[in-house]
């Protein structure tokens, strides 16, 4: 090492001593301070925790019957009525419901305005779903005063001014109206700022969910328009038939760019896919709410047909615990885990949020292409999202813990 001869100016012969003294200087600085209790509480962290809680313990405050639309709105509050986490109109909460000794999650879009969260209220709307495991029981059994555990607000189905066109064409079917209702309310409350033209498909006039609310919002707020599209009725003042590319073009701005937001049942997605392709929109101008995992995996491309209907055994590990449980090839493995009464994490149930991400140690699963949203390394190293993975053999699975 050449002599660098850097003994210039402030740096001189006492430098070695200074180096050796670093410890003493630091200890002196420490000892000069007072020995107050360490708090561990930081405002930024408290804010973040309030906005993104592990879970919420809510109470059903009131239930609004939607009559012919065969739905009920549940207004949820904290027991002490304090503000709930703010959210972006279009987000959902995941309900964690104890059912027959097991925990089941279901996600519901918030249909209230973000403003209501500050006043301590969330609203979700549940529509009858004959044959379904959860919706009908919620409608029949839940009463004001009942407790519900939910997640905080989640999901990416919301307007983002840096990304989306200022004009949004919303396509809604059935209970898929709920996130748009929240957006319309946010527009009316001045929380959001874009132009929403909603094409809302219903069977007939009587069957329109939130008819009164939507029309009232459209009257009050120039940024929001609603066009009712009836599939089983022809009436003046309504569009009839199904939502098509032509219908979208009819209501979309001619000169300006527009985004298309879509939320509706599986059948609607399937019908609209080719229609939306006809519009020739770049991918960035088309957003859809996550798609529930299919109930008929054997109809999916690439499904190993020999697995259909088979019963398998799944060894589940969670922290120090281990269970062996039965599972059907026809249901996502998460359902088998829930049915066994294991408190497993899950939120979106559509492969998107990754909250149920688990390590597949042994066995094989089938994942429908439209729910395949895993990270590269998760695919590579054998991690799956049990909410949308169907067993095609016996499995050994390591699942994460839960907090509630």
């Amino acid at each position: 090492m050449p002599d660098l001869n850097i003994k210039v100016g402030l740096i001189g012969k006492f430098d070695m001593l200074k180096f050796k003294n670093m410890k003493k200087v630091r200890e002196k600085a420490i000892q000069a301070a007072s020995a107050d209790e360490i708090s561990g509480v930081f405002p930024v962290n408290e804010n973040a925790k309030a906005l993104h809680p592990d879970f919420l313990e809510l109470v059903i405050d009131r239930i609004i019957d939607r009559g012919e639309a065969q739905a009920k709105t549940f207004v949820l509050k904290r027991a002490d009525g304090t503000p709930l986490p703010y959210f972006r109109a279009g987000q959902y909460i995941s309900l964690k419901l104890p059912m027959d000794g097991s925990f089941v999650t279901r996600s519901y879009s918030l249909c209230s305005s973000p403003k209501d969260a500050l006043a301590g209220e969330y609203a979700i709307t549940v529509r009858a779903n004959p044959g379904g495991f959860v919706a009908d029981r919620l409608l029949e059994e839940k009463k004001p005063g009942d407790k519900v555990i939910t997640s905080g607000p989640l999901g990416f189905f919301y307007y983002e001014d840096l990304r989306d066109a200022k004009n949004v064409i919303g396509l809604a079917g059935g209970s898929g109206i709920t996130p748009f209702l929240s957006m319309a309310r946010a527009l009316a409350d001045g929380i959001e700022d874009f132009n929403l033209t909603l094409l809302f498909g219903s069977r007939n006039e009587e069957n329109i969910l939130f008819r009164g609310e939507l029309d009232e919002l459209a009257r009050a707020c120039p940024k929001f328009k609603v066009i009712h599209v009836l599939s089983e009725e022809e009436k003046t003042g309504f569009e009839s038939g199904f939502i098509t590319a032509d219908l979208i073009r009819k209501y979309a701005p001619q000169e300006e760019p527009f985004s298309v937001f879509l939320c509706g049942p599986e059948a609607m997605y399937k019908f609209l896919k080719p229609e939306i392709e006809k519009l020739g929109l770049p991918e960035r101008l088309f957003r859809r709410k996550l798609i529930d995992v299919t109930k008929t995996p054997w109809e999916c491309e690439g499904y190993p047909q020999e697995a259909k209907g088979k019963a398998f055994s799944v060894k589940v590990k969670q922290g120090p615990q281990e269970w062996t449980i039965p599972a059907s090839a026809d249901e996502p493995v998460l359902v088998a885990i829930e049915r066994a009464g294991i408190k497993a994490p899950s939120r979106c149930r559509a492969g998107e949020c990754g909250w149920c991400r688990s390590r597949l140690l042994e066995g094989t699963v089938f994942i429908p292409q439209e729910n395949e949203m895993r990270r590269w390394a998760d695919v590579h190293y054998g991690y799956i999202h049990p909410c949308c993975s169907f067993p095609t053999s016996d499995l050994t699975l390591e699942i994460p813990g839960e907090f509630f």
Binding site: M1, L4, I6, V8, G9, L10, I11, M16, K18, F19, M22, K23, V25, R26, A29, I30, Q31, A32, A33, S34, A35, D36, E37, I38, S39, G40, V41, F42, P43, V44, N45, N47, A50, L51, P85, P114, K115, L118, D161, L162, R163, P282, E283, R284, G319, P320, C356, R357, M373, R375, W376, A377, D378, H380, Y381, Y383, P400, G401, E402, F403
Partner: protein, 516 residues
């Protein structure tokens, strides 16, 4: 109750490194992680058809397989295997020199290349730059010696082998630059690195700066092919292969004690018995929330107070997935540093002043190094800046979403003005990470991923020399960016290994002393 020799709490860089070190030493090790993915900041997230890297810009001190740096050596020593890709340039900076003249400089990796390029930008700087890098090397060797001595270096050896390190060791980077009579323009270009540690050049210990810059320049940096989640998952894979257990969505609630000695960890998945815990958690959180008050030594209370809860680098980031290629958008470089001035003292103050005065950002595009990072015809970019504590502490929820986008709009505008790169009209997916996001996700105070500011008396070298003094609770050591090696991927990987080593020595001493 499950029983382990060592529980590592938090599978961030330091935690994963510590867990591997403990397991390799034959200890029965449990790694618990409060999220369902490993890595802490070393993770990824998916939006639409994109997978996004949230934090890693460059893993420094890595180098190619035939010339490995310390970081590569450590990871290879653990037996962690994955594909790494070289980032050839150190940085491009578009700003103003401290005399106000415009600056647009691209610096390559490799000491020779770096000095050559500097000579082009600042003619006549070669001799001083060569001296500076010789000094960097001596500092690096000196730190290696001090590390190897486990905090007890022989002062005779230090004086004979590392005299220049000793001469500079107690000074700020600015003072040493001045003493070396380094041309001001060189200083300005070299100051680009200040933000890696979040301390301006007047308060950043030279020794810390020297070690870091040498690591970035000497060997080119690397990134994993498929985001840092690939690296974290490979770390976990290796740890499990060695027999370690990992529990995800498992949060340590508190540490359990038998008298004054740690005996376990309470978690949402139940209590776990252990002889030692290495906690990848900020010490103010551990000592403030997770340990019985009566066990907190007076000195550690004073240490917390003396630091004044001043945290470095509260991250504020934005991620953009664009439906155009980097080429189509005119992005030619991997990283663009876009401060308003090269004067780090001014820039630091502007950041502390909050969104009104902060115009600092780093822009990065992964596809310039990894063309297949995202689907064909697309690219993924990110912005990084820092948040001011009061601004984000006082912010209300109902203003949060709008507020966090305001700063991002400013960064986009700054990028367009300085480089002509315009992302608008191409944004298919985006996400903003505010100090709230980092506070929530990493659990770090104020969203600071840098830990306590490593400035003045609390610099890296001073902390390193006091590893044996700080945080003396028996069987519990904090590890991570708030620790002796300060922030950064490589620093925390080293920190995890180093403090796991200290834990293993403690365990050995206790068992030999019959203290178990």
């Amino acid at each position: 109750m499950p029983k382990y020799d060592i529980v590592v709490v938090g599978a961030g860089n330091a935690g994963m490194s510590a867990a591997l070190q403990c397991q390799l030493a034959g200890k029965k090790t449990l790694l618990i992680e409060k999220h369902n993915v490993p890595g802490g900041a070393a993770t990824s997230f998916v939006r639409g058809r994109f997978e996004i890297e949230p934090s890693l810009h460059e893993l420094c001190d890595f180098g190619p397989p035939d010339n490995p740096g310390d970081t590569r050596k450590i990871l290879e020593g653990y037996g962690v295997k994955l594909n790494w890709v070289e980032v050839k340039d150190c940085f491009r900076i578009i700003s103003r020199y401290s005399d106000g003249s415009p600056m647009d400089v691209t610096m390559p990796a490799g000491i020779g290349n770096f000095i050559d390029k500097m000579e082009e930008y600042v003619p006549g700087s070669r001799e001083k730059m060569t001296k500076l890098f010789d000094l960097f090397q001596e500092v690096l060797d000196g730190i290696a010696y001090i590390t190897a001595s486990k905090g007890n270096p022989d002062s005779k050896v230090l004086q004979s082998e590392y005299p220049d390190m000793l001469r500079c060791g107690a000074y700020s980077t600015q003072k040493v630059f001045n003493a070396l009579k380094l041309p001001k323009k060189c200083q300005d270009i070299l100051s680009t690195y200040w933000s890696y540690l979040g301390v301006d050049m007047e308060h950043l210990a030279f020794i810390h700066y020297a070690a870091m810059v040498h690591k970035y320049v000497q060997r080119s940096a690397y990134i994993p092919e498929h985001t840092s989640h690939q690296y974290s998952t490979a770390m976990i894979e290796r740890f499990r292969e060695l027999g370690g257990d990992v529990w995800f969505n498992c949060r340590a609630e508190e540490f359990l004690f038998n008298g004054d000695k740690l005996c376990g960890v309470r978690t949402n998945l139940g209590d776990v018995e252990c002889d030692y815990a290495l906690a990848n958690i900020n010490p103010d959180i551990i000592y403030g929330k997770m340990v019985p008050k009566e066990l907190i030594p007076e000195r550690e209370k004073k240490l917390s107070k003396a630091r004044g809860r001043i945290m470095g680098g509260r991250m504020y980031t934005a991620y953009f997935c664009c439906d155009a290629t980097a080429e189509e958008l005119g992005i030619t470089d991997y990283s663009y540093f876009l401060p308003s001035t090269a004067d780090s003292v001014v820039e630091y103050q502007r950041i502390q002043g909050g969104m009104k005065t902060n115009n600092y950002s780093i822009f990065l595009c992964y596809n310039t190094v990894l063309p297949d990072f995202s689907p064909p015809g697309t690219c993924v970019c990110s912005f990084t800046t820092f948040g001011a504590p009061d601004e984000w502490g006082e912010l209300k929820q109902e203003d949060y979403f709008r507020f966090k986008n305001e700063g991002v709009k400013k960064m986009l505008k700054n990028l367009k003005e300085k480089t002509g790169i315009d992302l608008s009209g191409h944004i298919e997916e985006m996400e903003v990470g505010s100090p709230w996001t980092f506070a929530r996700y990493l659990g770090v105070p104020e969203g600071s991923v840098y830990g306590y500011e490593a400035r003045d008396w609390d610099g890296m070298m001073a902390r390193m020399q006091m590893v044996g003094n700080d945080y003396p609770i028996k069987g519990l050591r904090p590890i991570g960016a708030a620790g002796p090696r300060s922030d950064g991927y490589s620093a925390t990987i080293v920190c995890g290994q180093m403090l796991a080593g200290a834990a293993l020595r403690d365990l050995k001493a206790w068992s030999e002393g019959g203290n178990k």
